[in-house]
Amino acid sequence: MNEPIKVDIWSDVQCPWCYIGKRKFEAGAAAFGGEVEVEYHSFELAPDTPVDFAGSPLDYLAERKGIDPAQAQQMIERVTSIAASVGLDYDYDHVHQTNTVISHELIHFAKSKGRQLEMKERLLKAYFVNGEHVGRIPDLVEIATELGFDRVEVTDALESHRFLSDVKADVALAQEYGIQGVPFFVIDGKYGVSGAQEAETFANVLTQVQSERTESTKDSE
C-alpha cells in the first residue's frame, strides 16, 4: 500500500486566492484519487493591519495600496466572480479587514486536537462568506464553540497566545522555503506549486509524485 502524499499548504485567512486555491486543490486531489495528507501552515500577508481596521477591503486597498476606489471595486468584483466559479459566495460588502494572527493561533489550537482542516475551512468561510470578524478573541471563541470546542479551553489558549510560537515557526519555515506569496503548496517536500492553480495542475503533480514513488520502489527491488 502506498504512503499518503504529504502536502504542506501555506495560506492566510484573508487571502481570496487561498480559499479559491483550496477548492481547486481539493478538486485536484479528488481527481488524483490517491491518498493525500494535508497540513496547513500560517502565513500573514499583512501582519501590521490593526485588529479593528476601520473600513472595508475597498478602503483598505485605496488607503494602503493607493488604488483608485473604482479600480479597487472592479478588482473585488473580479475576485468575487472567480470565487463564484468554484462555488464560493464571497460577500465583500460585509468583510471585516483585520489582523489574522489570532485566527492562525486558533488553527494551531485546532490542529493540536486533530481538527485543523475543519477550522481552516470554517475561518475562511467566516471571513469571505459569513462576514464574521476573525481578528478578535471573543468572535473566534464563538466560532470555535460552535464547532464543539471547549469555550474555556479555547479562550485560555487564545488569551495566553500559547500557539503564537507555532504561527511564527510556520512563517519562518515559509521564509526558509523562499515563499513570498500564498497560497503555496509544498508537495512531498520537494515540489513547490504557487498560487490558485487549476485543479488539473494539482492532479498532475500528485500523479507525478505517485509515479516517481512507484518507479523508485521498482528500482530498489
Binding site: 504529504k6 502536502v7 491518498e35 495528507e37 473580479r78 519555515l173 504557487s194 498560487g195
Partner: protein, 51 residues
C-alpha cells in the same frame, strides 16, 4: 484526503517549482488578478449576457 498529524520535514530542501508561474496569488498585502483570469471573467459575463 486526510489530515496530517506529522510536522513538516525539519530540513528544508530547495523546491522544484511546478505549475503555471502566473497563477493568482497574494503577495504582501496585495492580491493580484492575472490577465487570463480577467479575460475568463469577461467571457463568463458574455456567456451570461451580462455585458
Amino acid at each position: 484526503m486526510t489530515e496530517a498529524m506529522t510536522a513538516p520535514l525539519p530540513i528544508v530542501q530547495p523546491l522544484q517549482q511546478l505549475g503555471d508561474p502566473t497563477a493568482a496569488a497574494c503577495e504582501g498585502d496585495f492580491c493580484a488578478i492575472p490577465e487570463h483570469h480577467s479575460q475568463a471573467v469577461v467571457n463568463r459575463k458574455l456567456d451570461d449576457d451580462a455585458v
